[in-house]
Symmetry: C2
Subunit: 267 residues, 2 copies
C-alpha cells in the first residue's frame, strides 16, 4: 500500500503523476491519493473577489485563514475541481478512482481549532471563526473496503468536525494520517522542490536520507511550507509508516523516481 | 428505496430538504440523492467572467452549452460546492452521506453527444465540442453496496464518457436513470414550482395525478425546464419506478408533503 500526496503548489505535473499512479496500480500496487489545492484556491478566490489571507502562528507555521466563505471556495476548488480532474485522468487511463473529501463517509474527522494565536506585525492576537482543524480519526475500514474492491481513493483536504461542520485541513498532515490509518508502507509527498534542502533554496543541498532519529533536527531545518511536510512525515513515522519520501512533482515519472530513491527519503 | 432529485434552481430550500432526508433515513428508508446546480453554476460562471450560454434543440429542449472551460466550472460548482454542502448538512444531522459524481467508481457512464443540432435565431446549425452526454449505464452494484453499508449517496450530475472525459448530464434524467438502476419504488423530483401545470405558470392548474398512460400527453404539455423532468419521469417509468412525484422544493417538509400526495404524482 502506497499513499501519494500531490501538492497543491504550482508546478506539480498532474499528468505525469497520474501516469505513474496508473502504472503502479497496473503492477498490482494499492494506491491512495491525497491532494492539496492551495495554488488554484488562491487563483479562484482572487477572481471571485476574495483574495486569500495567510496567517503565521507562534511556532512559525503558516496556514490559510479560513472564514466560512473561504471554506466554501476551498471546498469548491479542491473537492470539485482538482479532485474531479484527478479522478477523470485516472478513470480515462483505466484506474477505477473514487473522489472523496473527508466529509464523505466521515473519512476524516477533525478537531476544530477554536482559536489560533497568530503573529501579525510582530504582535500576537487570537483569531476566531477559523474553519480549520486537526485530523483525529480516519475511517480506515471504509478506505480499506474501497481499496479491497479495486478502487483507488482520491481524497481532498476537507474534514468533518465533531460538531458537524466542514473544515480545511492541512493536506500533508492529512496524507500522513491516511497513510498511518491504512498501514501504508510508503508515503510519497510530491512538491515543487526536489526534496528537503540543507540550505534552502539551494537545490544542490538536497538531503538524500534522513534516519528516523533525525526527524526532529529536520523539523528545525525546514522552512515555509516544508515545515508542515516534515511535521507530517514525523506523524506518519509515529503511526508506523516505514518510509516517507519528499519528491519532486515537476518532473517526468515522479513517483517511479521517488521509489527508486530520488528526493529526500526518511526511513 | 427512494431517490430524491434536488433541483439546481433558485428557491429550493436545501435545509428543509435535508431535514426531511434525515427524518426518512431515521425511519429506516434508504435514500439516494441526485442534485443539479444550474443556478449556482450560472452565478459563479458570471463572476469568473464566463457568462453561461444556453442552446435549444429542434425538439425545444434547452440545455447548457458546455465547452471544456464550462465543464470545469460546472464540475467545480456542482461537485465541489453544492455536493459538499449537502453532504455536510446530512453528516451534521447524523446521516452518513457520501458525495459522488458519476465519474467516481464510474457511477454514471454516458455517451457523449458528438454534435447537437441547435436552433439559433430561427436557423439550424450544428454545435460541436460540447461536453454533454446521455447516461447509458449506472453502477448499481456500487450504489447498492454503499446503501447496504448504511451510506446515503449524494450524486452530482457529471458522468464519464466511454472515451474517458467528464460530461455534464441532465440531473433530472440522471435521477431517473439512478432510480431505475437501484430499483427505487419512488422518485421525487423537487423543483421551484408546485408541480406540472395545465396552464403554466398558473399554479392553480397543477395536475394532481397523471396515469402512466398519460405521460406522452404530459410531455407535450410541459414547457421549459419541465420538459426534461417529464422526459425523466417517462424514462423512470420505463425502468420500473412505480411512482414519480414532481414536488415543490421551496416549502417546509417538502419530501413529507410529496410523499403524502402533494404535487403531481405520476403512477
Amino acid at each position: 500500500m502506497l499513499v501519494v500526496k500531490i501538492g497543491g503548489s504550482q508546478g506539480v505535473g498532474l499528468d505525469a503523476v497520474c501516469q505513474d499512479i496508473v502504472e503502479l496500480v497496473k503492477q498490482g500496487k494499492s494506491v491512495v491519493v491525497v491532494h492539496g489545492g492551495s495554488a488554484e484556491t488562491n487563483e479562484i478566490s482572487e477572481k471571485l473577489g476574495f483574495p486569500p489571507r495567510f496567517v503565521t502562528n507562534q511556532s512559525g507555521f503558516t496556514s490559510r485563514y479560513t472564514d466560512r466563505n473561504t471554506l466554501e471556495i476551498f471546498a469548491m476548488v479542491t473537492n470539485g475541481r482538482i479532485n474531479t480532474m484527478i479522478v477523470e485522468r485516472l478513470q480515462r487511463a483505466g484506474v477505477n478512482a473514487i473522489g472523496l473529501s473527508g466529509l464523505d463517509a466521515r473519512v476524516m474527522v477533525a478537531k476544530r481549532k477554536d482559536a489560533i494565536r497568530i503573529v501579525e506585525n510582530g504582535r500576537q492576537r487570537m483569531l476566531r471563526d477559523d474553519f480549520t482543524g486537526k485530523i483525529e480519526t480516519v475511517n480506515s475500514d471504509f478506505l480499506t473496503m474501497l481499496v479491497n474492491s479495486g478502487l483507488t481513493p482520491v481524497i481532498s483536504p476537507l474534514a468533518m468536525s465533531h460538531e458537524g461542520v466542514a473544515l480545511n485541513v492541512d493536506a500533508d498532515r492529512a496524507a500522513a494520517m491516511v497513510a498511518g490509518a491504512v498501514q501504508a508502507e510508503e508515503l510519497i509527498i510530491l512538491t515543487n522542490v526536489p526534496g528537503l534542502m540543507r540550505e534552502f533554496p539551494d537545490e544542490s543541498t538536497v538531503i538524500p536520507h534522513i534516519p528516523k532519529s533525525g526527524i526532529e533536527a529536520a523539523l528545525t531545518l525546514a522552512e515555509g511550507r516544508m515545515k508542515k511536510k516534515v511535521l507530517g512525515a514525523s506523524e506518519a513515522l509515529k503511526l508506523g509508516v516505514s518510509r516517507i519520501i519528499f519528491a519532486d512533482g515537476r518532473i517526468e515519472t515522479p513517483l517511479m523516481k521517488a521509489l527508486a530513491g530520488a528526493g529526500t527519503v526518511i526511513s
